[in-house]
């Protein structure tokens, strides 16, 4: 399946920004199952410096810096991607989950060493008894790993309510587990917590998903958004992906952008600014299939129309350091940064 993906991230600042640094992980992955025919990134205002590196997990990071005064930043990427991940694995043909757990821990093959790193807690993924307990019904002794993981995926999909208002970017998975509410990122972190609490290697995948318009209606531009799901490792089979938000095994309806231990490793756009004041963030993603329009069978069901652009009002959390600007007639109050 071929796609054209357009992804806009825009920041509007309350005050001018005199310098900003950003690190973007917006390039779709290029590998055996997914080929990137073309990738363009447009940054406005024009950055002074663009550079690239591969991060620890193999994702490409684009760094850029802007040092002209600006009050708006727009990053637009356009990717042309062919996804050829047609088949889903035979879930019951995988090893029992306990043997995967033990093998990954024991073996020092490149493959296992790499996977083992994803068995440990990371910033957004705690390893706790509570997660193990939640996951336990899906993991009876001897059950094939991939089948058990699918069962867990389905249970999360059933037990948890999709609710963008229930959580924020920093809601810990423990709270998500208690509230039974959240968004795809929360579900992904939760599922990874469950898997790692069982000693299994699980990683976080960021990317896009193709959504289908309701029957008879044209596709809504910008309705799509960045998405997140998980992947589980099984020796010999590599990484198998699961999307707990949609209760599917991602195939060619999902476009992969980056892998990491959790969101904080691969956040799509990370930055620092000097100045700026309040920030208003706008994100818009359009995933456009370029082949015929027949929906793939394993895709999520139709959803109500979303607003054309998702707007998030975010107050800047850190105050800019203000310097004293006036000689006060009553000089008693000290300048803010010098006070005790």
């Amino acid at each position: 399946m071929r796609y054209r993906i357009e992804h806009l991230t825009a920041y509007a600042y309350g005050q001018g920004v005199s310098i900003s640094h950003h690190a973007a992980r917006l390039r779709p992955l290029h590998n055996a199952y997914q080929q990137v025919a073309d990738f363009q990134m447009k940054v406005s205002p024009r950055p002074d410096k663009l550079s690239q590196k591969r991060d620890y997990f193999g994702n490409t990071v684009d760094f850029f810096m802007i040092q002209d005064l600006h009050s708006r930043l727009e990053v637009t990427t356009v990717s042309h991607v062919t996804v050829s991940s047609e088949t889903t694995p035979y879930l019951n043909a995988s090893f029992p989950w306990e043997s995967v757990r033990d093998q990954v821990k024991r073996e020092r093959t490149e493959e296992c060493l790499h996977a083992y790193e994803f068995c440990f807690p990371s910033r957004h993924v705690p390893v706790k008894e509570a997660f193990r307990e939640y996951a336990a019904p899906s993991f009876p002794p001897g059950r094939p790993l991939l089948e058990a993981a699918m069962d867990l995926t389905t249970r999360i999909h059933t037990d948890f309510k999709f609710d963008p208002k229930a959580t924020t970017i920093s809601t810990p998975p423990m709270e998500v587990l208690e509230k039974r509410k959240g968004v795809c990122q929360d579900f992904a972190h939760l599922q990874i917590s469950c898997l790692r609490s069982l000693g299994l290697p699980a990683r976080y995948v960021s990317g896009y998903v193709r959504t289908e318009p309701p029957p008879g209606q044209p596709r809504l531009l910008g309705a799509d958004a960045t998405h997140a799901w998980v992947a589980v490792f099984c020796p010999g089979l590599g990484w198998t992906e699961y999307d707990p938000t949609n209760d599917v095994i991602p195939t060619n309806g999902h476009i992969r952008v980056a892998y990491g231990r959790d969101y904080s490793d691969i956040s799509p756009l990370r930055g620092t600014v000097v100045g700026g004041g309040s920030q208003r963030l706008t994100i818009g993603v359009t995933v456009e299939p370029l082949d015929d329009e027949t929906p793939a069978p394993a895709q999520p069901e139709a959803t109500p129309a979303a607003p054309a652009q998702t707007q998030v009002q975010i107050q800047s959390q850190t105050q800019t350091s203000q310097t004293q600007t006036a000689v006060s007639s009553a000089p008693a109050p000290a300048p803010p940064q010098k006070q005790d």
Binding site: Y56, R108, Y263, R270, S316, T320, V327, A334
Partner: protein, 863 residues
């Protein structure tokens, strides 16, 4: 472990039980502990006997007196250690014992050999973990050691080494076991602290007993610090004749800020925190008054995960965005490399013997404290089985759980601890508890034994590592069995003396001679933050002095026989104190009896001594002292001492006696202020820093003249005339006035003296002239077609003041003049504010911190 490190008693020494009684009569070493001073037979060990021989020549009274002086120096130099969460405030005075820890050079050289080996080993381990990770692949280190270690920072993986080393600064905490062998208690890898405290200890103690140091052939530290300079310069990736090296500090609230500022000054480095630094095009720059200046080498004292908010912790306010990219691009050397914290943990100690054999093909010379990392099955079993005699610690995170001694724990607690360890074995280590050796500390009754450990420092250079000949000896409290391992835990310290057999040739620093001499008339880099700090020091100094003068001029009449009645003579001064928030309700002037004299006196005492009160003298002086503390790299020791006295003198309860008791206190403060402004005038080079200090002072003083004269003009006659004497006194202008006018103070002549006469250094005109001259000399003012906004103000105000004429020939004319003066004064306030905000725009706005942007939350395909 080399047997030679165990010191054998020298024959012949035992036969002198009565020597050094003055020092040793109360020295009762504890059994079962290695005693640094006495061997098993009670004889004095060789190094110590040489030391005692010398120190015994000092008369007892003389020694006490010298020690008393030395302690005063420590206090006045403001040697401090910030303890987080200390209710006594952040600055804790440095606790030093006058008796050094003594070790012979022969013993020391054995130790050195082992420490250099360990540094090479750590360097090799870091090189592997930051790169190919073969140690993990080959099974020499368990994978979990790396993967469950929160200090393994993935963005730092692959950063390049500088000058061939991953490890540049390294420190080791050592303890001596009962059998005399040295053990490593902990490794300090990511940003080791203590070198500066060690150096300061040396300066204090060697100045206190110089003859002892000389006669004992004390090995000096100068060569080591030269090596340190060389090493820093050699790490520079850029071909510059003299690389720009900065001390990258977390700032004044950091626990070891004193040391950072101290070392920066000693080694000639620029002290720079995140506000001072920025990156452009993958290069690091210092923000200076002359714009951005490139930085080549950074001695990092900020923890690695806080050092770059773009790639590491985004909530860090101590970091420099883009720092890692600059390191990757090879444009700056950061020492130690961010990410080196990965080997700063007790768990790795369990693997060092094997790693040493494999990586260096040598046996590990100095053993570490026996350590079991619970992440391995057999080790976990040992830990659980022997928990009664072991200490359980977190494997990778410092301070997250208190160190637990299994033996002293109630059974239920011990069981809970075991469960905790079994549940998350990777996170814990068990260690044998260390028996520290004891060494003498001084008391007025002679030596007393206390437990000690020593922290030794190493620095990388081209041929390997250099060990500081000495170090920081830390001393446990009385009846404690271990000195605090982290300096946070607060323990005493000692200088560490390595004694050579032979007299030492004089050493002259060779560092400077490597570079051709360039005559400079200005400092190479003047950071904007330094200027900003000095500007505020100027303002607070003036604020303090002026408030002192105001209060004194009110207290004088109150304590005279006139009492309440005399307050009419200081009406506007009282009003100004009310405006400053120091005195409440000016209603006393209408009905003085209503408030009562006691209430009035208490209010005045509060205005001086009450720290809770905004604007009180104690509070202002405290702020001044804090500002000065964060500018230590720019202030002379003498200046610091004066500022410190201003702050410390008020840290006591208000006198309970009559109000006149406060006058000597205030007089003393005025004298200190005279000393402070004298330092600024006579002892400070006319560089940009001095200009900002002066600008702060002038702006503040100009504001006060303006405000007080405005209040004078609001008074009605006859009060307006009766207050003039006091007003002249506030501005120290009584004598000037009297010498010129033979009559009692009258309005127009007073106004001329205080506003227009620029020959009077306290007049408004004098302040504006000085402001104008200082602004004219600042970098921004040069090379531009038009004046800056601030300069426009001073030029205009100066013209206004110079063209004003107060000569009143007719009674009506006086009214006209007063009208003009009121106009002048009301215009002056906003103009002074403009000067201040323009300084801000021109020089300090660069100092804004970087903040992280809101992260894009991953949004769902649904909804």
């Amino acid at each position: 472990m080399d047997e030679t490190l165990t010191v054998k008693p020298e024959p012949g020494k035992q036969a002198e039980p009565n020597r050094f009684q003055r020092w040793l009569k109360n020295y009762r070493p504890e059994e079962g502990v290695y005693d640094e001073l006495l061997d098993e037979s009670g004889a004095i060990r060789p190094g110590w006997s040489r030391f005692l021989e010398q120190i015994d020549r000092i008369r007892p009274d003389d020694f006490s007196e010298r020690w008393h002086q030395a302690q005063r120096v420590i206090r006045e130099n403001g040697v401090t250690y910030n303890v987080y969460g200390d209710p006594q405030g952040t600055d804790r005075p440095w606790d030093l014992d006058p008796i050094p820890f003594v070790i012979t050079q022969q013993d020391w050289q054995q130790l050195e050999k082992g420490l250099i080996q360990r540094a090479r080993l750590m360097d090799a381990v870091l090189a592997d973990l930051a790169g190919p990770q073969n140690l993990i692949r080959n099974g020499l280190l368990p994978q979990e050691m790396l993967f469950s270690n929160q200090r393994f920072l993935r963005p730092c993986h692959g950063l390049p080494a500088s000058a061939g080393h991953f490890l540049h600064f390294y420190a080791v905490d050592l303890a001596r076991a009962p059998d005399g062998r040295w053990w490593v208690v902990s490794d300090r890898v990511q940003a080791p602290s203590g070198t500066g405290y060690g150096l300061e200890n040396r300066l204090v103690v060697s100045r206190m007993i110089p003859e002892v140091a000389r006669e004992c052939h004390l090995v000096r530290l100068a060569r080591f610090f030269d090596r340190m300079r060389e090493s820093l310069a050699a790490a520079s990736p850029n071909a510059r004749e003299q690389p720009h090296v900065v001390m990258y500090t977390p700032g004044p609230y950091n626990e070891t800020y004193f040391e950072q500022a101290y070392l920066a000054r000693y080694l000639g480095l620029t002290l720079a925190s995140s506000e001072d630094l920025t990156t452009r095009d993958d290069r690091v720059f210092l923000k200076t008054l002359d714009g951005l200046q490139p930085v080549d080498v950074m001695w990092r004292r900020v923890d690695d995960e806080f050092s770059d908010p773009l790639e590491l912790r985004s909530d860090s306010r101590l970091g420099v965005a883009g720092l890692l990219q600059a390191v990757r691009a090879g444009n700056v050397a950061v020492l130690n490399l961010p990410g080196s914290g990965v080997v700063e943990n007790p768990a790795i100690m369990a693997f060092l013997p094997v790693l040493c054999r494999r990586l260096l093909n040598e046996d590990l010379h100095i053993p570490s404290v026996a350590t079991w990392w619970c992440g391995q099955k057999p080790a976990l079993k040992t830990a659980v089985d022997q928990i009664d005699r072991l200490v359980v610690k977190h494997a990778f995170e410092k301070g997250t759980i208190p160190v637990r001694f299994g033996g002293t724990m109630p059974a239920a607690e011990r069981a809970a601890l075991i469960r905790q360890v079994e549940r998350d074995p990777f996170a814990y280590v068990a260690q044998e508890s260390v028996t520290f050796s004891q060494a003498p500390v001084w008391s007025s009754q002679g030596f007393r034994p206390r437990r000690v450990s020593i922290r030794v420092f190493l620095v990388a250079h081209e041929d390997g590592y250099q060990v500081m000949p000495g170090g920081l000896t830390r001393v446990a409290g009385e009846s404690q069995t271990a000195p605090g391992i982290s300096m946070q835990q607060g323990s005493g310290s000692k200088d560490t003396w390595v004694l050579s057999e032979e007299p030492l040739p004089a050493y002259f620093s060779k560092y400077e001679t490597r570079f051709p001499i360039v005559i400079r008339r200005r400092r190479v880099h003047y950071s904007s933050r330094s200027a900003d700090n000095l500007y505020w020091i100027g303002r607070y100094a003036e604020r303090s002095e002026f408030t002192t003068r105001l209060l004194r001029s009110v207290i004088i009449p109150l304590s005279s026989e006139g009492g309440f009645g005399s307050l009419t003579e200081v009406g506007p001064i009282w009003d100004l104190l009310c405006q400053l928030g120091l005195l409440l309700a000016p209603t006393w002037r209408k009905e003085p009896a209503a408030q009562g004299i006691a209430a009035l006196e208490n209010a005045l005492k509060d205005a001086v001594f009450n720290e809770e009160m905004l604007g009180s003298l104690r509070r202002i002086n405290g702020q001044l002292q804090r500002l000065a503390a964060s500018s230590r790299d720019n202030l002379s020791l003498d200046t610091w001492r004066i500022v410190r006295s201003l702050g410390e003198d008020l840290k006591r309860p208000a006198p309970t006696g009559p109000i006149s008791d406060m006058l000597p206190v205030l007089d003393n403060l005025i004298t200190l202020h005279a000393a402070l402004s004298g330092m600024a005038r006579e002892n400070t080079t006319r560089n940009p820093g001095w200009r900002f200090l002066d600008l702060g002072r002038r702006l503040e003083r100009a504001t006060y003249v303006t405000n007080l004269i405005t209040l004078v003009l609001e008074e009605e006659e006859p009060a307006r005339s009766t207050c003039l004497d006091a007003v002249l006194q506030v501005f120290d202008s009584s004598i000037t006035y009297r010498q010129r006018y033979l009559f009692e103070p009258r309005l127009l002549p007073v106004l001329d003296t205080l506003l227009l006469d620029s020959a009077n250094p306290r007049s408004l005109a004098a302040q504006i002239e000085e402001l104008d001259a200082q602004l004219a000399a600042l970098p921004v003012e040069k090379n531009r077609a038009f004046f800056t906004e601030g300069r426009k103000v001073t030029v205009r105000a100066l013209a206004q003041l110079r063209t004003m004429d107060l000569g009143a020939r007719e009674p009506d004319h006086e009214k006209q003049i007063l009208y003009e003066i009121r106009l002048l004064l009301s215009g002056m306030k906003p103009q002074l504010a403009e000067v201040s905000s323009d300084l801000d725009r021109q020089y300090f706005s660069l100092l804004q911190l970087e903040q992280s942007t809101a992260e894009t939350r991953v949004r769902p395909p649904k909804g």
